[in-house]
């Protein structure tokens, strides 16, 4: 199996599933059932390939692996180039893992237009995996942007009451950011003559050009991540999206922003990244404190988790733009951990939503009595989100803050308050929903989780704990890639520093 184009298989296998689903004929109910199974098997196959990739991944090198090259847009010199390194590999794995999770989670809760729903998720999986595998900037853009189509449909068709508004906001917000990135990609192409990401990473462009390019990329990734103050689409999208849509949104789509910073901004525009780095730290700090405070007063469970996502992404911003090994490793780890925890929290919200059809915190209370399993599993994820040692949330936040401490102690101090605030809003919600006095009769009559829900949530909980106890599963594999990234980055930053020192030195000489 060595010569197998495994990344292309993972990317395009879901599309074959789509074709199969589109060919299903028969009664509506049979179509729905067969679509579910076809989608599940396709995504499981894809996941199997992803596991194979994970097992065969060589964690000792920073090079791109499983590389594939083919001709594509030849007249423009744009080739089809796929490959993964330590940074992207886990996101591919994550995408392949969360898609079957989403399909299973929607097994019973989606009743209308099941075929379309499954098609949308498989198309989404194709674009997600493609985004993380693409090693050509235009190819990356095609996948990155293509994600909008299925997500727009998912929010708009199966979403809540304000779904139209939310889907529009999601689509147009992200599109506006991305098209500016497209121009930046074209400028890069015109200036360097290549769209190959590894080539671009090896030869960063001139510092004077970097500032503008960096801002254009920032427009795209900041919206996607999302960073304060362009995060406002996220709570709307999360609240209106169906459960599985929220899981994918939190689990994978947000990570595209962080991944973009790591793949484009830092290596290709190191000088500009160093220039804007301090501002990014503070933007991250604002995001953490502001959105945590907003989360404190939310009455809607999904909205609360959505705001907590923005806060957690604030740590990612901080980690990435420290430019230190700990910071970046922490940022990546935080993204992986957040994908699992936040995805699972949305699933938890989905579990009770399916029963009571409301997300209002005050409509619940005291459900620990009738749903003990649910109370337990939710506690695991809640504590993971808070960053309790032993869960994956702790590792990411700790590393991020360690990285940040070397750069800016004051910002780190403020960022740390997010840990306290995070504990406050999460525990508050847990108390009001799960513990507390049983006030609503229908809430305390809800049945506990069924087998499907248990099968869905317990593996994720196990992974959260595993990563909390053995973070090296991830760290060993991302290490070399991050080391190389940081080494290249620091080289540039040092040159810049020396230059400024030189200039200042000369000024002083002149003054004497």
């Amino acid at each position: 199996m060595a010569g197998l184009p495994i990344l292309s298989i993972m990317t395009f296998l879901p599309l074959i599933g789509v074709l199969i689903i589109l060919m299903i004929r028969g009664e509506e109910e049979a179509v729905a059932r067969n679509s579910r199974y076809a989608a599940l098997y396709t995504s499981l196959f894809t996941f199997a390939f992803a596991v194979y990739m994970f097992l065969n991944f060589d964690g000792s090198t920073a090079d791109f692996q499983f590389v594939e090259k083919a001709e594509w847009l030849r007249p423009l010199g744009i080739g089809y180039h796929m490959g993964v390194d330590g940074i992207s590999m886990f996101f591919v794995l994550l995408s392949a893992f969360l898609t079957p999770v989403c399909i299973i989670s929607a097994w019973d809760s989606i009743e209308k237009r099941v075929r379309e729903y499954m098609v949308a998720f498989l198309v989404l999986e194709c674009f997600m995996i493609g985004t993380f595998c693409a090693l050509n900037s235009i190819l990356f853009y095609v996948f990155f942007e293509g994600v909008l189509i299925p997500m727009f449909i998912i929010i708009g068709v199966w979403g809540g009451p304000r779904r139209v508004y939310a889907s529009y906001k999601f689509f147009l917000y992200t599109l506006l950011g991305s098209v500016l990135m497209l121009i930046a990609l074209l400028v890069l192409m015109a200036k360097t003559g290549t769209t190959d990401i590894p080539t671009l990473m090896a030869n960063p462009v001139a510092p004077s050009l970097q500032i503008w390019l960096w801002l254009a990329f920032f427009a795209s990734f900041a919206v996607k991540l999302p960073m304060w103050p362009v995060h406002t689409w996220l709570p709307d999208a999360h609240v209106e999206a169906p459960t599985a849509g929220s899981v994918i949104l939190a689990g994978v789509l947000l990570k595209m922003g962080g991944y973009g910073f790591l793949r484009f901004s830092l290596p290709i525009m190191p000088d500009a990244s160093a220039f804007f780095g301090p501002y990014m730290l503070w933007l991250g700090v604002i995001a953490i404190i502001y959105t945590s405070l907003v989360a404190l007063v939310q009455e809607d469970m999904k909205k609360l988790v959505a705001y907590s996502s923005v806060a957690h992404m604030g740590y990612v911003t901080i980690g990435v733009f420290t430019g230190t090994v700990q910071g970046i490793e922490g940022g990546i780890f935080q993204m992986i951990s957040h994908a699992l925890i936040s995805g699972a929290l949305f699933l938890c919200v989905g579990v009770v939503y399916d029963r009571l059809h409301t997300r209002e915190i005050s409509r619940y209370g005291g459900i620990v009595g009738n749903m003990p399993l649910y109370a337990f599993i939710m506690m695991v994820f809640m504590l993971g989100s808070v960053g309790l040692p032993g869960t994956s949330g702790f590792v990411g936040e700790l590393l991020t803050l360690m990285g940040a401490f070397q750069i800016n102690t004051l910002a780190t101090l403020f960022a740390s308050t997010g840990l306290v605030l995070g504990a406050a809003y999460m525990l508050l919600m847990y108390r009001r929903v799960v513990l507390g006095p049983p006030v609503n009769q229908d809430a305390i009559e809800m049945p506990d989780m069924n087998k499907r829900e248990i099968g869905l949530l317990f593996p994720i909980a196990a992974m959260v704990l595993w990563l909390g106890i053995f973070p090296n599963t991830v760290m060993d594999r991302i290490g070399p890639s991050v080391d190389k990234l940081v080494a290249d980055y620091q080289k540039h930053v040092k040159i810049e520093l020396e230059m400024t020192v030189d200039v200042e030195g000369k000024k002083e000489e002149g003054a004497e």
Binding site: E71, W72, L73, R74, P75, L76, E116, I138, Y141, V142, F143, E145, G146, L148, I149, F152, I153, G156, V157, R163, V164, S167, Y168, F171, L172, L175, L176, V179, L180, L182, I183, L186, V187, M189, A190
Partner: protein, 480 residues
Amino acid sequence: MIGFDLVPLFPELFLAVTAMAHLIIGVSRGNHSTNFVFWASAVTYVVAALILVGVSWGDAIVLNGMFKFDNFAGFMKLIILLGLLVSSALSVKYLDDEGISRFEYPVLMTCAGIGMMLMVSANNLLALYMALELQSLSLYVLAAFRRGSLQSAEAGVKYFSLGALSSGMILFGISLIYGYTGTLDYGTLSATLLPMQSIPVGITFGLVFLLAGLAFKISAVPFHMWTPDVYQGAPTSVTAFFAIVPKVAAMGLIMRLLFEPFASVSGQWDQIIWFLSASSMVVGAFAAIVQENIKRLLAYSSIGNMGYALVGIAAVSSAGAGAVVLYLIIYLIMTSGVFAVVLSMRRNGKAVENISDLAGLSQTQPMLAYAMAILMFSMSGIPPMAGFFGKLMIFQAAVEAQMYVLAVLGVVTSVVAAYYYLRIIKVMFFDTPAPAFDGALPFARRAVLALSVIFVLGFVFKPSLAIIIAKNAAGALFPG
């Protein structure tokens, strides 16, 4: 170079002869021959295309320098013939349903087609004018084809009066250019302009008038006022024809005019094109938002699309010209598909035209809704649809020419445009269903729609071929 070799003009001659034959058949056999004439002209287009492919595409100048036949002309003619074929396939059933099936329709279409094919190979300002008028006069009649309807008549009159005005402007411009250079021939014009240190103001004026008249033909802002009214008033099949083919021909004509005789004075016209392009993109995007009628919406969409195509011309480069040609192919194919859907919007035997009539189409006619959604995403330039690659090439050329303002304006207006394309998708997928449309699509329309969707979806897998062809075609305008 002056010869009397008619071989390169065989496709046009063939079309002209058959058009007259079809007219005679129509006159002698009356209106029940319409369907026959339709299919006969469809076959004629195919045969003409085959003749065209058979003719050598070397640089040939025929009829005393009136027409030039090169790669660019050959390829644009092929696109025009494709457009004619598609338009006639879309028209047949619609005219029957509307009860305006008359044999003049296909004949007029063929005449317009001949005019368009001559437009893209015009090598003389007089030939340009004659070809343009042959095309325009046929189109005026087509716009007013539904004689009994006030709206259609209004569309015809509006189109005619404004079109005549623009023709006058073109003629005036030509006369100024002739007055200052003493020639109408592209080759001589180019040779006269090349050594000029400063351009006489008369030539600049002439060029401005010429471009203003031509901007009317491609409905670039601020010469676009007629477009929404004519699109709305004309029978929908005619609207489809207007949207698909004449734009392509007029763009071809503008490209040859600007890149051949006036290439050396690009400093005189690039700002004009820049402005036409920027304003078309902005107006096309913002004005479409408030439209309720889908034909009016598509009118503004075509205005915006012409704005994008003009970006490629404003880049004044071979890459830009290639991008324009590619953009036009993709635009033509997408628009055909969209109109195949619009033509099928009939309820209780009557055509409906409001966007709200599409409500819930995904539940009543899912295949139609999917096709339309794919085309709409493509129109808004979202990858991986074909429309994205058209825009990619255009913006790449613009960035290469360092026209960052135009490029950024282009992508930002494309986001605004995405809003109204999304609205159609929203109506089809998110809203509660309106009553279903009548019956299944006729075969020809379904074929057009299917091919268009397959092209739009499949383009991403094999984009090189179309791009290479487009680049080769445009390369003919940039010798050396």
